[in-house]
Symmetry: C2
Subunit: 794 residues, 2 copies
Amino acid sequence: MSVDTQQAPPGLTDGELAGLDAHWRAANYLSAGQIYLLANPLLTEPLRPEHVKPRLLGHWGTAPGLNLVHTHLNRVIKDRGLDALCVWGPGHGGPAVLANSWLDGSYTRTYPDVTRDADGMARLFRQFSFPGGVPSHVAPETPGSIHEGGELGYSLAHAYGAAFDHPELLVACVIGDGEAETGPLAASWHSNKFLDPVHDGAVLPILHLNGYKIANPAVLARLPEAELDDLLRGYGHDPIHVAGDDPAAVHRAMAYALDTALDRIASLQRAAREEGADGRPRWPAIVLRTPKGWTGPHEVDGVPVEGTWRAHQVPLSGVRTDPDHLRRLEEWLRSYRPEDLFDAQGAPRPAVLRCVPDGDRRLGATPYANGGLMLRELPLPPLEEYAVPVERPGATLHEPTRVLGDLLRDVMAATADRRDFRLVGPDETASNRLQAVYAASGKAWQERTLPVDEDLDRHGRVMEILSEHTCQGWLEGYLLTGRHGLFSCYEAFVHIVDSMVNQHIKWLRVTRKLPWRAPIASLNYLLTSHVWRQDHNGFSHQDPGFVDHILNKSPEAVRVYLPPDANTLLSVADHALRSRDYVNVVVAGKQPCFDWLTLEEARTHCARGAGVWEWAGTEDGTREPDVVLACAGDVPTQEVLAAAQLLRRHLPGLAVRVVNVVDIARLLPSGEHPHGMSDFEYDGLFTTDKPVIFAYHGYPWLIHRLAYRRTGHPHLHVRGYKEIGTTTTPFDMVVGNDMDRYRLVMDVIDRVPGLAVRAAAVRQRMEDTRLRHHDWVREHGVDLPEVADWSWDG
Amino acid sequence: MSVDTQQAPPGLTDGELAGLDAHWRAANYLSAGQIYLLANPLLTEPLRPEHVKPRLLGHWGTAPGLNLVHTHLNRVIKDRGLDALCVWGPGHGGPAVLANSWLDGSYTRTYPDVTRDADGMARLFRQFSFPGGVPSHVAPETPGSIHEGGELGYSLAHAYGAAFDHPELLVACVIGDGEAETGPLAASWHSNKFLDPVHDGAVLPILHLNGYKIANPAVLARLPEAELDDLLRGYGHDPIHVAGDDPAAVHRAMAYALDTALDRIASLQRAAREEGADGRPRWPAIVLRTPKGWTGPHEVDGVPVEGTWRAHQVPLSGVRTDPDHLRRLEEWLRSYRPEDLFDAQGAPRPAVLRCVPDGDRRLGATPYANGGLMLRELPLPPLEEYAVPVERPGATLHEPTRVLGDLLRDVMAATADRRDFRLVGPDETASNRLQAVYAASGKAWQERTLPVDEDLDRHGRVMEILSEHTCQGWLEGYLLTGRHGLFSCYEAFVHIVDSMVNQHIKWLRVTRKLPWRAPIASLNYLLTSHVWRQDHNGFSHQDPGFVDHILNKSPEAVRVYLPPDANTLLSVADHALRSRDYVNVVVAGKQPCFDWLTLEEARTHCARGAGVWEWAGTEDGTREPDVVLACAGDVPTQEVLAAAQLLRRHLPGLAVRVVNVVDIARLLPSGEHPHGMSDFEYDGLFTTDKPVIFAYHGYPWLIHRLAYRRTGHPHLHVRGYKEIGTTTTPFDMVVGNDMDRYRLVMDVIDRVPGLAVRAAAVRQRMEDTRLRHHDWVREHGVDLPEVADWSWDG
């Protein structure tokens, strides 16, 4: 569908067009004002150097285009009574979104001291990019935003996440031509293969080609137009073009394009919802070509600026010192005719506000951008229905993620009507053994299906695309607009979204301090198919470092759990799904794992986050341990318990304490993390002077980084993954990384005073078994029988 | 360009087609054999359970398609005498690539014990996915590979990286339909906008649509064909389709498609190279649709397998215990007629090898896939030409990256004819102040240009695309095929490639142990626009954690440098550019920075990696320090020196030592990293009992993680970035994170025994200055004059 965009939509009067232009000019004036002005906001006097900020920070280039889009979205939202949200991909356009929010009054509603008058305008200008003020990007502080945009690439996935299960919502998404070059953005175009026209809202991509990035032309802006159309059609869209640099013509074209797109969306939704139309619709997309830095200085110091990359940041940089620059700035600002736009008190004149919708329909005030306001408690069933029976520790085996799958199935079922819970993953839900959920919801899929397909469902809420980026972006958008979800991922490949989760945690850290932002559901990761059990994938699939990455971020927003069995996983997952404003990382295995704790024990243990497993050691309440065996993670727990068993058999007099850690931040001092333990608690668990042999799921030095301040730290010895791996057996992996039971026993012998001589024979026996394993596994291709058949005999 | 693929290329005889089919069947047989067989490789006796591996690991689904591509590439390479390399995106297809390499003899050339006979075949089978054997993926151990593929998404960027500056090379790239859903892959299609048809080779994408991922249909495989064609045309390609499940027809079509594509490539190259054709050519791409698990079991246990996702891994899983599965396996293997393919000794028969090229033309033997063989020393000019003069420390300021830019310009110039050096970055070369390079090479660009454009060059070797993934993939491919390069990136956003660099480091770790793999040039990062100077971007642009990520990986392959000024940056960069088989991370600022060291001093200091700056402390050789002020990074160094100056003024009796660390791994124990210091060295620098106040560029706990084993660790106190940031002034950033000079002085007073009382007034003065700063910056928008105008008075 290509449309003629030279004519105004029927019924749009010249007066309305003039009003749109006035709103746009006002927003442009306010955008430039934020970048430059400390005082004299209405230019009521000639501009002097002291009216200008001492440091000019900000990005002008993208602002006029964003202002155009915002102005025209205002019109259609008001005219059509739409519930709408806009994701502003060019996050550097902070001044534009702030300007529009100030114009529609939602800024003042959110920040009452920034009034819609000359004083408030002065505040708006001054605070921008100013110490103690507001950031230069669209940010958590910006009303109406769910998207920071400082790191480019995630706008479209966020937009789809917001649209899922919001059938009444229009999500406009402005994609910059810089952002369009990123991988995550490129992948997310295919999100439309997962958008259900019945239960989901609509996403309207607006690809803004202003032609340049920081210093280069943008690739998509320079494609031959036919090739760009092919690309968009290949992405499943019908492109609608708007291009030009004459404001009046562009206003007409943009109004026409938006009306065309929205009529088309309404018709596609009606067909799917009322007429039973099947198959994926071809949704419209708008391609908007306007000059970078449009209406700004055309040339500066003899070189072109408007319409080039030089307009990216601050077009006139010498304003405080160069009288000519100052004069040019004043000319530029006055070119918007502020006196026509604002009254003597600085309030926008009625003509400027003619296109602005009311109340919650304003883009700066929509509750969809403050999703916590719309969040409902997730209906979580009692865990008793899923718990595995544990008569005694280690007598049975379960696949923890499969047990969790049953719980997730029932959460999926309980939200069948509410549709506010989704499970996302890169083609791994079944591989991660969560496939029970399919009994309650299939996998979202709008393409054609074949008879051999299973569990695909046009209306499904399990989301699978082989892009961790898209999964993450969808889920972020979904949570930010007031819903719940879980991302299950191979542990190693969650690093793909390291940088995305950085941004989400930064967002949470800031929103937690903004009283007007209501808490949202936590972003929950289930990391499975983990480092120790990559039997058929090997070295490339082994990386437990996401935990390290997460623990570098703001402590108030991050939680990391390593449940050692099925019931602890249930307890942790229940807690994570109920929580707010966190990123919860849960690392759990999908392979059969011994059941250690009953549900009741698991709950108590998880609530403490770390504790002594009396039954696993030699605790009898009468003596201090000679050694502490600590563990975190399912495989380390098994190795520590096997080591404890070996010690009981071979060194019966040794007092052994076994400590299991579920909540890894407990190891931090209480001042460093909300879950951190006091020294009193820590010393009570780990002692201050006994050797602690700690088997940890991930990189061993993480434990030192968490515990280095503890009195007993010099006695702490950690085993974990140290980048030794290939395609091999499970036990060969732990031996290769020196975390096996035999090695742990040797560590105990090496570190408990007096044992070195007394237990030399035991030590040799352990060493011999390791060598025997080495030979056996290379001959037979399977683990030593005594390891493969091991079970806890406590 | 759509072609009729039902006819064989002119001149391709039935005999040749039969030979292609024999080769393909042999490769399929060998692929399945690797997954299943421990013994009886030629099926010379009936298959018994003990002939089968105890653990069945591997991925069959993709193998037949890869074998088809390899077989047909063999033909065209041989017939046309091509220099070719293939990047196998579906890395899970390890058995296929190993099979082909064994067939063409390159496997035996590389691993002489795996002979091309029955014994060798048995070894080939047994070692696959077996403890002590070879990984299941295409891996560093695989001859002919530059691409692991366990983590999907990077094949096409690797292919382009290999093709750049190799004008004679054809790089075929098989892209799986799963991989095609990833962001990095989606972005990398646009690499053709940067491929110079004159100086670069050709990339032939072969999009392999076998229809399914692990458990789902693939998105691209289910698009309507016209929409897929639109997409590929939108990516700038002319698609050529090959589809079917009848081997004979597919052989004909594939041969025709390859001939068509290669004729087209030759013609496009001729036009550009000989006829001066300008503009970006529309390169061909092949779309290959064949069933997943083609020729494997059609149904198993009553459900369809061939052509479905169920063929992804091991189609018959019960072979050791289920006689029916065993029988089905034997039928399947015999369906390839091994007796027709291999002689009695197990060697491939001549008909099978008819299509196979000779010597280095074999895909398993091409030196392009062992790039170290082709690597030349980089012509690095003497650093003296670029060094900034330093009469005394801190008397002048330079922008370190700008100084480095001059060096890079001359490296670019010195390689103008050789074309074996490239600079990549996401639209940030100029922002990172390296723009001097444009004097020697423009930015690669094949799209149309406009009069306002600057420094774009059809033949340029500076590569800018706003995708860190594509930059990383290009550079990896370029280095792996024997060239040099540097990736300059905003520090925060290098996390975008966390997972990619994981895989590259894993690759290096393995190749370092393979004697046949020649060392390649290191992957060098210049991380700039760093956390402390994101003045106009703020919180989203602040993350110094890449160093933490890198230091989790194999120590033998990772190096991290934090040069504190321009001359140290030159010295570090020179070292990094000369090195082999590392990932070097260099963190350096682009803002004006005091010059501390002369080039000679810088060289000495960088060679030591860490050392006392006697001139900065109170060292006179007669007394032990009372306190050590340590620093790593440019901003921390400045704050530490300012603190040392304050201490000299306010506490003149205090003995202060200043230690600067450039090479951060020096802090590790010598047993943990090749650059690690002995305790003797460490204690000599930092003492064992004096307070050490360490100002570090990144997250402070990293220093503890590195130094926790040192005797003096209990006295180590680290300041660094702790996720406090927004758009503000440079000094407000260091104050916010408690790393400012005043705070450091307070730390000294708090920690040096006896100072707390004696220096209480000084401490109060420091505190007061911090408060004064806080108010000043919020009023004036700039830093306190005494900070802004500070300089070293030593």
